[in-house]
Symmetry: C2
Subunit: 149 residues, 2 copies
Amino acid sequence: MLKLSKLTDYATVILSHMAKDYLGMYASQEVSERTGIAQPTVSKILKILVKAKILTSVRGAKGGYLLASAPENITVAMVINALEGPIALTECSLSHKNCDHVRDCDIQGNWGVINQKILTMLESVTLADMLEPIKPANEIRISASSFFR
Amino acid sequence: MLKLSKLTDYATVILSHMAKDYLGMYASQEVSERTGIAQPTVSKILKILVKAKILTSVRGAKGGYLLASAPENITVAMVINALEGPIALTECSLSHKNCDHVRDCDIQGNWGVINQKILTMLESVTLADMLEPIKPANEIRISASSFFR
DNA sequence: ATTAAATAGTACTAAACTAGTCCACAATAA
DNA sequence: TTATTGTGGACTAGTTTAGTACTATTTAAT
Ligand code: FES
Ligand code: FES
């Protein structure tokens, strides 16, 4: 169903929460309470986000997590990348090695283009954007006829 | 890893093959030989594509499958939809029911916007486009600053 | 009529992935 | 020293996916 994992979804919820006061420090405990996501799961996600350098952590009592940069500089693509690895719609967008038993394939490159467009789109959305209330007029700038040109 | 299933990938390969002579009829046997995808798997995919009305089938000896419409009218979104169901990055893009234990969530709507953009993009790419050799200059028309405005 | 070639539908299995939990360990504040 | 908090890794149960198999149905050719 072309979907993100639940953990990625949670991660955006968690980060949005933290972005509201983006200089503050948040203990996993507290994040769990505020978001309603179970504590062990929150903890797991926060650890992953630290490893991806999206968050920084402070250990010990009164410790917690903070955003490693301003919400404007954290993109949705970064978050997806942290939790799910590189964004690649098809195996071949990432490496052609895995597709060896598919002969007669004329389309790998085009998948790559689609993939790149989605990536660019996701890179253009930041945590700050996610917090904004939705504006109804969202004009799409891609016209069908110009897609591959 | 935000990826399409292998079957979807195969489906595009199969359809691209069939689109080369898009009035011709193809037996699953033959498609299997040409693409190198195992026959039972090809067969499974073709059945699904018929149910989605992307292909039509002719039963009996000398039967086979044909494109139900011209390659220009078959979009990548249709194919993904046939094999994986509705395109929805997060549960909430599809229905908010499943997310009830996430309190304090300000972002569902924005996911919906992102989702819609990806959908529009995938709807703008047709089978005919997939067959074209790639053009190097692919200007992306979405600017970061205007994403949510 | 009979046979062969082809799709339709469904069910099944094995493998891979995901979500969610848990625990022993390390760091720090009080 | 003790309580609090993050770190790292392991583990289990559940779900999803890929791939296969089998039976029934349809049609062309003979
Ligand atoms: S090389 Fe993988 S689908 Fe073509
Ligand atoms: S309602 Fe599902 S992530 Fe917000």
